[in-house]
């Protein structure tokens, strides 16, 4: 059986690959907040030898920076970012969990001042073996990553 690309190639832009199946929409949501004019093509539940199934996002004419990629690391820690210029991959990197997330997730504490004032949330990230915890800069409460189902 001839190999066939599951998603059409792009001339210039960013391809986010190896997103765990089911996480793609959350990343789309975040990308649209970063730039609401962004042109996206999304593939859900694509077959992947590596992961079984994966989601994949292509962003036309928009080059993601490493710090933007790192903000998404909690949603898809093993995803890879491919920067495309002239149909070629010119740069490829993995998301890395950042030390701090600013304005990415709401603090889960509904009584935290960051949820009622016009300010960005600020969460520091602590990785202890396989466990990821986030501490709010304002209310000082510590949360496990599972309490952050959605980006803003």
């Amino acid at each position: 059986m001839p190999s066939k690309m599951q998603v059409e190639a792009i001339n210039r832009g960013t391809v986010i690959d190896h997103i765990p199946a089911g996480q793609g929409l959350k990343i789309v949501n975040r990308l649209q907040l970063l730039d609401n004019q962004v042109r996206l093509t999304v593939g859900f539940n694509l077959s992947s030898g590596l992961d079984g199934q994966k989601d994949l996002i292509k962003v036309d004419d928009w080059l993601m920076t490493e710090s933007e990629a790192n903000e998404l690391a909690l949603l898809a820690p093993n995803a890879t970012i491919n920067i495309i210029e002239d149909y070629n991959v010119v740069s490829k990197f993995k998301m890395a969990i950042p030390k701090e997330l600013i304005g990415v997730f709401k603090c889960p504490n509904s009584n935290c001042i960051s949820n009622s004032e016009p300010i960005h949330s600020k969460l520091s990230v602590k990785v202890n073996q396989d466990r990821v915890q986030l501490k709010c800069h304002y209310c000082e409460k510590i949360f496990s990553k599972e309490l952050f189902p959605e980006a803003y």
């Binding site: 504490n109 009584n111 935290c112 001042i113 960051s114 009622s116 004032e117 016009p118 300010i119 709010c136 800069h137 304002y138 209310c139 000082e140 409460k141 510590i142």
Partner: protein, 310 residues
């Protein structure tokens, strides 16, 4: 006296180093034994209580008046136009920082003081932000422990009652972690210390143990820190059963060290029997009085580059 606290925001006990804590305690002792201290002359301090807290507010305001400073502010934001006009907290604080030399604030939401510190060009002192921090309560507790034990290192401190919801206990445990103390924790399952704090103690290699029989650890204890078990957290029968196990009475003190002292952040309900007040171990009313000295010391250090003994 070298003063690293000059113009510093005081938001969380975890922002203060061991030497900062020692400086505050030392200054509070000097102030307590001075005829008078006038470290706040010509200073205006804003006392902004976005929620009512009579004890904390009066203690702060006494500390300002006793040192010759002036107070502006409010006792409850409901009586001001700030909330009614829909102004953000950030804007209110920016405005106040143009009037006063320092801002003391209490607020019902966690993180309010830290946010205020980010927009204020004057020092902000946290008088309690929701369930988060109340650093000056911890400072007065440390000052009191030092005063009655003459040291903070190598003490055995037994915490009793509500160790889960009481921020007083959490902050004091964190602050005492600098001082090589041993902690005994006496509490029902439902009111035991939160997981994050236990993890923090383990990370710092702090010596602690959970104790079932309160009376059994009294002979080894230097400080008993009693707290109130709040009725509203239990159904009435459960409350009666639980509360009765965490009551301190005179007969339990027979084996106590002569130097042992009992502290309580107050208000007390019935967890310390009134007869204990008459024993030399009771120190909770002196502790409450020390709130003024600890706050005097903090304000003096935050508002003066040097604080010299008078």
């Amino acid at each position: 006296m070298n003063n690293p606290l000059y113009r510093k925001h005081i938001l969380s006990i975890s922002d203060l180093s061991r030497s900062d804590l020692e400086l505050i305690i030392q200054t509070a002792a000097i102030i307590k034994h001075s005829e008078q201290s006038r470290f706040l002359e010509n200073k205006v301090v804003a006392s902004c209580f976005f929620e009512a807290s009579t004890r904390t507010r009066l203690s702060f305001e006494t500390a300002i008046h006793r040192q010759g400073g002036s107070v502006i502010g409010f006792a409850d934001s409901g009586s001001t136009s700030l909330a009614k006009k829909g102004e953000t907290l950030s804007d209110s604080i920016k405005m106040l920082s143009g009037y006063a030399d320092a801002i003391i604030m209490r607020h019902p939401q966690e993180g309010a003081a830290r946010l205020a510190s980010e927009v204020s060009n004057k020092p902000v002192i946290n008088g309690g932000d929701g369930s988060n921090q109340h650093p000056t309560q911890t400072l007065l507790d440390l000052f009191t422990i030092h005063e009655c034990q003459q040291r903070l290192d190598n003490l055995t401190i037994t915490f009793v009652g509500d160790l889960k919801y009481g921020r007083t206990v959490h902050s004091l445990v964190q602050a005492l972690s600098h001082f090589h103390c041993h902690f005994n924790f006496v509490a029902p399952d439902a009111l035991y210390l939160p997981e994050y704090l236990l993890e923090e103690l383990e990370e710092k290699n702090v010596s602690f143990k959970r104790v079932e029989a309160f009376e059994a650890v009294i002979p080894e204890t230097d400080i008993i820190y009693m707290t109130r078990v709040q009725k509203e957290r239990f159904d009435p029968t459960e409350y009666m059963h639980i509360a009765s196990q965490y009551v301190l009475n005179v007969s339990m003190l027979q084996q106590a060290k002569d130097s042992m002292r009992i502290l309580h952040p107050l208000p007390r309900v019935d967890e310390i029997e009134l007869s204990v007040d008459e024993t030399p171990y009771a120190y909770y009313f002196e502790q409450a009085k020390n709130g003024v000295y600890a706050r005097q010391a903090l304000l003096a250090l935050v508002l003066n580059e040097t604080v010299e003994e008078t």
